[in-house]
């Protein structure tokens, strides 16, 4: 049995050349794997499991949103903020008067972060559905209803619940989905709780002793820096996941002089 390949390339030299080229390609591929330059991730859209596609797509979007929220102190695009380390840090507690205690600016931080996540991911998740629909329309008739997204911070995880009717029809084969629930392991809930504790103490005592807190709760890595403008920048980190939450406080400012 002869292969087409050999039919075309009978020449010995050509064969060696092709083998060398193939060997080189294999070496390059192996190198790529070893040096970590992996080819771009292509999200598989398993036609039989839109759930998997939406979960994968949502997680990618959620990860980016959570990163922004962590960096900016609970919001994606901070309004009341101070620039520190090249990033805008939201003031979770703020006063513009010297000597005064700060006023809590985000009292329900967990609820606020949930809203912020929902707002930031909605359009992108809608695009996930549109992509899914586009891909599936080759084989199925797709019917999608309106979408409602709920974000929840829970201990050690963030849960996104997407309420959306998604119907796939191919002849008699009809499959319907009305809810997609995606959970992602993330310490946002714990970090927000610690941040609220910091804000409470700053609002009452003008101070938070991070070392004292870490001695009791060594799972957190809390650092704080007082800037030259009397802002306090907090970084609340989770030692296990290495993720951190960054925000600013301006409280009980003592001016230069009187």
């Amino acid at each position: 049995m002869e292969y087409c390949f050999f039919k075309i390339n009978r020449n010995k030299k050509s064969q060696i050349t092709i083998f060398i080229i193939l060997a080189l390609i294999i070496v390059v591929l192996i190198l790529l794997v070893f040096v970590g330059l992996r080819p771009p991730i292509v999200i598989s859209h398993d036609e039989k499991s839109p759930q998997i596609f939406i979960e994968s797509c949502t997680k990618e979007i959620l990860e980016k949103t959570l990163d922004k929220i962590r960096l900016h102190g609970g919001v994606v695009d901070p309004e009341l903020n101070v620039l520190y380390g090249g990033e805008k840090r939201t003031y979770l507690c703020y006063t513009n008067k010297d000597y005064n205690k700060c006023v809590n600016q985000k009292p329900k931080l967990i609820e606020s972060i949930e809203e912020e996540i929902t707002l930031d991911i909605t359009n992108d998740i809608n695009r996930c559905f549109e992509t899914l629909k586009l891909n599936l329309e080759k084989s199925y008739e797709i019917d999608m209803s309106g979408m409602k997204i709920k974000s929840e911070l829970k201990p050690k995880e963030v849960v996104i619940t997407i309420n959306r009717g998604f119907k796939m029809t191919k002849g008699d084969d009809v499959r319907e989905f009305d809810m997609f629930k995606i959970g992602m392991i993330d310490p946002m809930y714990e970090l927000a709780l610690v941040s609220m504790e910091i804000v409470n103490q700053e609002a009452q005592y003008c101070n938070f002793d991070n070392l004292g807190y870490m001695i009791i709760y060594p799972e957190y890595d809390i650092s704080r820096i007082k800037t030259g403008d009397s802002d306090t920048i907090y970084r609340v980190g989770d030692r296990m996941t290495k993720k951190d939450f960054n925000f600013a406080v301006r409280s009980c400012v003592l001016p230069a002089g009187i």
Binding site: V103, Q105, E111, Y205, G228, L254, G257, I258
Partner: protein, 1147 residues
């Protein structure tokens, strides 16, 4: 006698000295005058913004134009009110208890919280927010009951919450948690999880009855359980646990494999593929440090007022094997305090950045010396600076141990504001002082200094500079890079003799007197010296508690700070997390001294208030503020009393020469060109640190990753002086302007200015391109003097600052008025009236204008045809006097030497019956003129007094119109009309401590009830009310404990009238939960409680009080009769309810 003295002085020299004296006098005087503007009137309208343009909620702003103009979600404009936010409803601060999470949020504006969630207590001292121990399986959490319910719900386990556990430490380390055990699944694999019973029930969906699949205290790998898990499969770490554990093959934790100890610097971790007790100690520049240790580092020297300009205290700590740094607040508003203890032959240090209470030091200056010394010595942030130059020039004052830093660069826009003086200038000038040197001369023996000889030596310069430096970034001193700047002080004299200026080595050697390192945290005596926290100690005495603040801190996550490590180590335990004693009584460690709590900030606020009150007072400024006041008093006591006596003695018997040596303390000036790179060497370069290195240094890219202190090129050229056209007093103008100088003239006739009239004028320095040139300027009356030799700085407001604009006031006496006093000739009178000031300005590179710039001013030489006038008075005209006051001592300030009289009728000078005692000597001339003292009597029948003065000129000019001086006695005595808490009030509360607000209302007195009030009682205080100086006064106690209180109040109005009153009240704690005394069937389920309560029931063993059904009634509670198992809980009005649920079976 004066003639004899004058023979010793040549005529020209005499005129020259007199001119210098007049100008220097004017300069010193006006430094007081401008301090009047320390509290500047705001033309803007302050108020409260619901939201500011920056996006901040509920902020008090100095101008409501800073409020957001956006529309809210409802399309309405955000509110703004012309009052403080605390007086508005929408921005009222309270506690927001989240209905979703149960988390309590302090200091929350009402508008950011729903009506149901908002509670009227900003510190969340309410039963709903009282923290207790929440058991979450094999973990515990220090939180509120509601949050505990939410957390339990997340884990699918019933709530287990205890208020009996009183501290966070006890909750986390000592409370017995749910026992773990093997939870075996009935699947084919015989899977198993090592979890709690509740978690097992939840997994297996068992809501009631016995769980036969749970084996308490047993590992999954036990053979008898017949699971698929095999024992001791591998080692690993457990989250939040310090030890290395064995894990079975199903990844369940088992026995401890290695016993690690977080507090002895080791913790579970992996080394390659092996799990070990990882060493957590840190190798640092100061040696090996244990995990949890913290310590301080400084820029070379600290204490005794020797902290270097730009320096910053830094706290370091070692945690989890990593050394971290936390710089304390900039401008040395915080200091790093450290203390070490011996533990098991090791030294463990603990540190904190705590508020530098330097402001308190100044406030002690208002006390008498003994009290000042006592308070000062108790406060580790202050020390007594004992200036002892000579027998007649010595004083003690309480000054900062760690002097504060100031903003080192002036904003050119701000200085355009007529009377602006920076905080630095206001504080530094408290160090201005004058020493009077008396020389006695004889015909054959020459002159010998008899009084204050040392004021002519370097001892004066050294000690005064040391005093000046201790006030803050003032005087001649070094920055943290050891660069010397000698431009922060100046010494002037009205004669040729003056003490030498300090050399660089003199200044560097000052560091040798620095204090010890590290800074000490102080003790309760120190906190007592702050006034506010004195209460804490007293609480301890009253309530037999070791320290209320400590007990309070024990309940706050992390607030115990670094002391916690020491506490854990010394608390009769081995230091193992799991074995920390439940006895968390803070018997060994004094947490409070490391705290940075609000009380210390509050102390700063009170001091600020006191300082501003004194500095803002019209006569307060006359004596130069609080410090100036004390020095002024001392100086006046010496110079005005003893020295004046000596002078008179010498004048009577011999011949004297008097020299006034003035030390002028000014803000420290950065070197012109410094090494800016030094700032980038550390990780906490700030604007303050950067600018302290040099005038050329500037911090750029603030807030970005590229933030850096750079050196900017200083472009300079030869400065050219021009008049500051926009700045000249109305009625005067610049004339004969050319490159060499100008004249200041009366606009009406381009002639001389009238005597004793304040004229303000200024100069502008420009470069060749007519751009602004930043310069420092001096003047003298002798054109041949070099810049360094010149008598004084030209700019009275910002003397030593490099600025493009400089201003000065001149107020010149009538030469004619001095004719007789100094027996001056016509020629001398003419010369006295023609003053030529020669100005030299140098730019940042030291380049000066080529020739001295001449400013000519002439004062109308005479004969004097103008009558004297009264500039001001003390007490001020139309002032209020106390109720029932019949006579009053009054000082009138007259613009020129004069004789004055008064009468109750408006009549001619000669007909006036009462003489006034005027001090017309030029030496005692004050900022407001010559002092004339008298006593007005008969105030009960008359409030109006007519005063006329006649000058001492040959024309004897006399006031044609009387100066009408009025004094009003208060019609009603000052009274405290309302006191809260009301007398004999009983305040019931469910928790302690609670915040209590003392409130007073005052009526009557000199200003319709406006008064300043203070309180004391139960061994607390005395302390000023936080809100006072009005009819309403309030003071918030953060930590009021249960007990009986007897509080006394004292208020004083502007006329000095006092009102006293008191109140008695009790705080009673109700922390007993209502007990169910009877349960029976009475046509339904009926229960009776021991006190008024709300009872709720449910048939679900996962009882949730908030979602349970409410029983009717207060004491007798009813519910429908159902054959089931009732779960019942009752809560009283203070939120007390039992930790257990009562079960009632009706079947």
């Amino acid at each position: 006698m004066v003639n004899k003295i004058n023979k010793f002085i040549t005529k020209n020299a005499r005129i020259c000295y007199l001119q210098i004296f007049i100008l220097v006098l004017a300069s010193v005087s006006f430094s007081y005058l401008i301090s009047d503007n320390f509290v500047t009137a705001q033309s803007r309208s302050p108020g409260c913004c619901e939201k500011t343009k920056d996006g901040a909620w509920c902020q008090d702003v100095s101008d409501v134009n800073d409020c957001s103009e956006e529309l809210d979600e409802s399309g309405n404009r955000y509110s703004k009110s012309p009052t403080e936010c605390s007086n508005t409803d929408y921005c009222k601060l309270g506690c927001c208890v989240s209905s979703q999470t149960g988390v309590c949020n302090k200091n929350t504006p009402k508008l950011l919280c729903s009506a149901e969630e908002f509670k009227d207590n900003s510190n969340c001292d309410i039963s709903e927010c009282q923290k207790g121990c929440c058991i979450l399986g094999d973990n515990s959490m220090w939180t509120s009951e509601k949050n505990c319910l939410v957390e339990s719900g997340f884990r699918g386990i019933p709530i287990d919450f205890s208020k009996e556990v009183k501290s966070e430490l006890e909750c986390i380390f000592s409370v017995e948690k749910d026992k773990l055990g093997a939870c075996v699944f009935d699947d084919d694999n015989r899977g198993c999880k090592y979890i709690t019973l509740d978690e097992c029930n939840n997994r297996l969906n068992i809501r009631s009855g016995i769980n036969s699949n749970f084996f308490s205290g047993k590992y999954c790998s036990l053979n008898e359980l017949n699971t698929s898990c095999s024992a001791k499969d591998h080692k690993g770490c457990l989250e939040g646990k310090e030890d290395v554990y064995w894990f079975d093959s199903c990844n369940n934790p088992e026995d401890i494999a290695l016993d690690c100890d977080l507090y002895n610097s080791n913790y579970c971790g992996n080394s390659g593929s092996e799990y070990i007790c990882r060493d957590l100690s840190c190798e640092t520049d100061s040696g090996s440090r244990k995990n949890g240790e913290s310590w301080c580092s400084y820029d070379e020297v600290i204490g005794n007022g020797k902290d270097m300009v730009g320096s910053r205290h830094v706290r370091h700590y070692c945690f989890m094997g990593e050394e971290k740094i936390e710089p304390c607040s900039d401008y040395r508003n915080e200091i790093c305090v450290e203390e070490s203890i011996e533990f098991r032959s090791d030294k463990i240090s603990q540190s904190a950045c705590r508020v530098n209470n330097w402001r308190s030091c100044f406030s002690y200056g208002t006390m008498d010396e003994d009290e000042m010394v006592e308070k000062c010595e108790k406060n580790p942030d202050c020390y007594i600076n004992d200036v002892n130059v000579d027998s007649q020039f010595k004083f003690k004052l309480c000054v900062p141990n760690y002097p504060p830093g100031f903003e080192l660069k002036l904003d050119v826009e701000q200085i355009m504001n007529e009377d602006y003086q920076s905080s630095a200038e206001n504080i530094c000038k408290m160090g201005n002082q004058e020493c009077t040197v008396v020389e006695v001369c004889s015909l054959f023996g020459g002159c010998k200094v008899k009084v204050n000889k040392n004021c002519l030596t370097k001892k004066f310069s050294n000690e005064m500079n040391d005093f000046c430096v201790s006030l803050g970034d003032c005087g001649g001193y070094v920055n943290y890079n050891n660069d010397v700047s000698n431009e922060g002080y100046h010494i002037t004299t009205d004669r040729s003799k003056r003490p030498p200026f300090l050399t660089d080595s003199d200044i560097i050697s000052m560091k040798g007197d620095a204090g010890e390192k590290p800074a000490l945290p102080g003790d309760l005596d120190f906190l007592g010296a702050l006034g506010v926290q004195e209460n804490i100690d007293n609480y301890a005495a009253v309530y037999n508690s070791s320290n209320v603040l400590e007990n309070e801190l024990m309940g706050i996550s992390g607030a115990m700070g670094s002391s916690l490590l020491v506490k854990i180590l010394t608390d009769e335990v081995t230091g193992d997390i799991g074995r920390v004693s439940s006895n968390t009584k803070p018997s060994v460690i004094d947490f409070s001294k490391f705290t940075n709590a609000f009380a210390t900030i509050k102390a700063g606020t009170t001091v600020k208030y006191k300082l501003k009150t004194f500095m803002g007072a019209p006569m307060g400024s006359l004596i130069g503020g609080v410090i100036g006041g004390v020095i002024g008093t001392l100086a006046f006591g010496l110079i005005g009393g003893l020295i004046l006596g000596l002078i008179l003695f010498f004048i009577f018997f011999q011949k004297v020469k008097i020299t006034h040596i003035n030390y002028k303390c000014m803000p420290w000036q950065a070197p012109i060109e410094g090494d800016c790179e030094v700032c980038n060497d550390d990780k906490f370069c700030t604007e303050y640190r950067c600018s302290s290195l040099g005038y050329n240094c500037e911090l750029i890219n603030k807030g970005t990753l590229q933030e850096i202190c750079i050196s900017k090129d200083i472009e300079t050229s030869v400065p050219e002086i021009t008049p500051w056209e926009d700045l000249i007093s109305p009625g005067y103008s610049y004339l004969e302007i050319n490159t060499e100088g100008f004249s200041v003239v009366n606009s009406t006739n381009n002639g001389c200015i009238p005597a004793f009239t304040n004229v303000r004028f200024g100069i502008k320095t420009v470069n060749k391109e007519e751009g602004l040139e930043f310069t420092q300027c001096k003047f003298d009356l002798d054109a041949s003097k070099t810049y360094e030799e010149m008598v004084d700085f030209f700019d009275e407001y910002h003397p030593n600052a490099y600025l493009p604009y400089h201003r000065r006031n001149i107020i010149l006496p009538s030469p004619d008025a001095l004719r007789f006093q100094y027996n001056a000739t016509e020629e001398e009178i003419r010369k006295l009236g023609e003053i030529k000031m020669y100005i030299r300005c140098k730019n940042l590179k030291g380049v000066q204008n080529l020739n001295p710039f001449e400013v000519s001013v002439c004062v109308y030489p005479g004969p004097d045809h103008t009558s004297p006038y009264i500039v001001t008075s003390n007490p001020e005209n139309k002032g209020k006097l106390g109720y029932g006051v019949d006579s009053q001592d009054v000082t009138l300030f007259v613009n020129e030497p004069a004789l004055c009289k008064w009468s109750t009728q408006d009549k001619g000078y000669n007909d006036m019956e009462n003489s006034i005692d005027c001090d017309n000597s030029l030496e005692n001339y004050t900022a407001y003129g010559f002092k004339c003292n008298t006593r007005f009597t008969g105030l009960s029948s008359n409030s109006k007094f007519y005063v006329k003065c006649q000058d001492l000129s040959p024309n004897s000019n006399t006031m044609t119109e009387s100066y009408v001086y009025e004094l009003f006695s208060s019609q009603n005595p000052l009274k405290i009309s309302d006191i809260r808490p009301l007398l004999n009030t009983e305040i019931y509360t469910g928790v302690e401590p609670i915040p209590i607000t003392l409130r007073l209302e005052t009526v009557g007195g000199s200003k319709n009830g406006q008064a300043i009030c203070e309180w004391e009682g139960n061994n607390f205080g005395p302390d000023l009310f936080t809100e006072t100086d009005s009819n309403f006064h309030s003071y918030e106690w953060e930590y009021a404990m249960s007990g009986a209180y007897n509080i006394n109040f004292k208020c004083e109005d502007s006329a000095g009238d006092e009102a006293i009153n008191s109140t008695r009240f009790s705080i009673i704690i109700d922390n007993n939960y209502p007990r169910i005394s009877r349960i029976y069937n009475d046509g339904g389920l009926k229960i009776i409680t021991s006190e008024e309560a709300e009872c709720r029931y449910s048939f679900d063993r996962m009882f949730d009080f908030d979602n349970a059904s409410v029983m009717t009634g207060d004491f007798e509670h009813r519910a429908e009769w159902v054959l089931d198992e009732y779960f019942i809980q009752c809560e009283d009005i203070y939120g007390n309810k039992p930790s257990t649920i009562t079960k009632v079976k009706t079947y």
